[in-house]
Every structure is written in structure tokens, then in C-alpha cells.
Symmetry: C2
Subunit: 120 residues, 2 copies
């Protein structure tokens, strides 16, 4: 996907074993919230990403600790992000961290954080 | 989920048998695009929905025709929406309609369209 100058990556905990619908909604929360962060703080990134067709990639992580590590690294790079905690009405405990949305941001920057992760 | 005055519903084709990651990314495309429509055209709806915590519900439909029917009904009600066609780089043919995001819009209105659909 080299034609995408900007991308958004959503890292999802696979250890929670959420179903397909639950996973999709959590990823959508992360996508909307991180995109809104970008729209407010990095408007040019957001605009280019929207124009390019909103490249999104969902990747898997194995634990909450991995999510927090990614969050710390993303904050160090000052990237727009959204950490999603579930209300826990279905399937999992309230307050459980389910996923992290990073970007939209330059693909070359995001890849340094998530390029080694497997697709969800 | 009566505490949510506004909601977004994403209708997903189950007949395509997309995997968990593919499904999640398609739903996220619909969520971001429909939310952006709402932000531009129905700013008050969007703001309230964001403040309420972005209620999203993913539901299943069985065919492309069902998606198109929902789209027509949503347009008749002038609801914000986003029909998602996949680039078809993975798993499915290019241009395949995968899902439809409707809203955020008043829950009472959306429920008249999608209240009878099963959760994804």
C-alpha cells in the first residue's frame, strides 16, 4: 500500500477473544476517535488521509501491556491516538482496554511502531 | 441502551464471509465516513453523539440488495450515511459493497430502519 502517504493503524487485543461484531465496533470506536484527534491537531494529515481514501490497518497484539507500550511510544512521537476502554456491557469486564487507534499519521512514522505486527 | 439519544448503525454483509480483521476495517470505514457526513450536515446530532460516547451498533444483512434497500430508506429520511465499496485488494472483488453506515442520528429514527436486524 505504498500509494498511501498517511495511514491509521488500529491495534486490537486478541487475548480477549472478542467476537466479530464486538471487535468491529471497538475498532470503529478507535478509528473515529483517533481520526477526530487528528482532525483537530493535525488537520493537514487528516485531510490528506481522507482524500487518499482513509487507509486503515487492523493489527493484533497479545496483551494489555502491549497496547500500553504502543500508546507510550505513540505519545512520545506526539501522534494522534485513541485508547479504547469498553463499557463492558457485553462479553468483557467494564473498563477493559480493547484497542488503540494510532493516526492518521505519515505511514513512514507509524510503520516504525507497528510495521512488525501481524494483521488482525 | 436507552441512555443513548443518538446512535450509529453499521449494516454489514455476512454473505461475503469476510474475516474478523477485514470486517473490522470495513466497519471502521463506514463509521468514520458516516460520522463525517453527520459532522458536516447535522452538527448538533454529531456533537451529542460524541458526548454520549459514540454509541455504535453493528448489524448483519444477508445480501447486497438488502444494503441497497437500507440505503434507499435512509436517504428518504435524509439521514447521514456512507456506503462502503471495497478496493478489493484482499479477500473480495474490487468494488464490492461491504457495508453501510447510518448516522449518528436520533435512535428513535434509526430504530425504525434497523431495529429488526440481528447483531453482527
Amino acid at each position: 500500500m505504498d500509494e498511501f502517504q498517511f495511514k491509521q493503524v488500529i491495534a486490537v487485543r486478541r487475548d480477549l477473544e472478542m467476537g466479530k461484531g464486538k471487535t468491529a465496533v471497538q475498532v470503529a470506536h478507535a478509528a473515529v476517535s483517533a481520526a477526530e484527534e487528528a482532525r483537530k491537531r493535525f488537520t493537514n494529515w487528516w485531510e490528506t488521509w481522507m482524500r487518499e481514501g482513509q487507509c486503515k490497518v487492523a493489527v493484533r497484539v497479545g496483551s494489555e501491556e502491549e497496547i500500553f507500550q504502543l500508546e507510550r511510544k505513540s505519545r512520545e512521537l506526539r501522534l494522534p491516538l485513541a485508547l479504547i476502554r469498553d463499557r463492558g456491557l457485553t462479553q468483557i469486564e467494564p473498563g477493559t482496554t480493547t484497542c488503540l487507534g494510532i493516526g492518521p499519521a505519515p505511514s513512514s512514522v507509524i510503520d516504525t511502531l507497528t510495521g512488525n505486527l501481524s494483521l488482525l
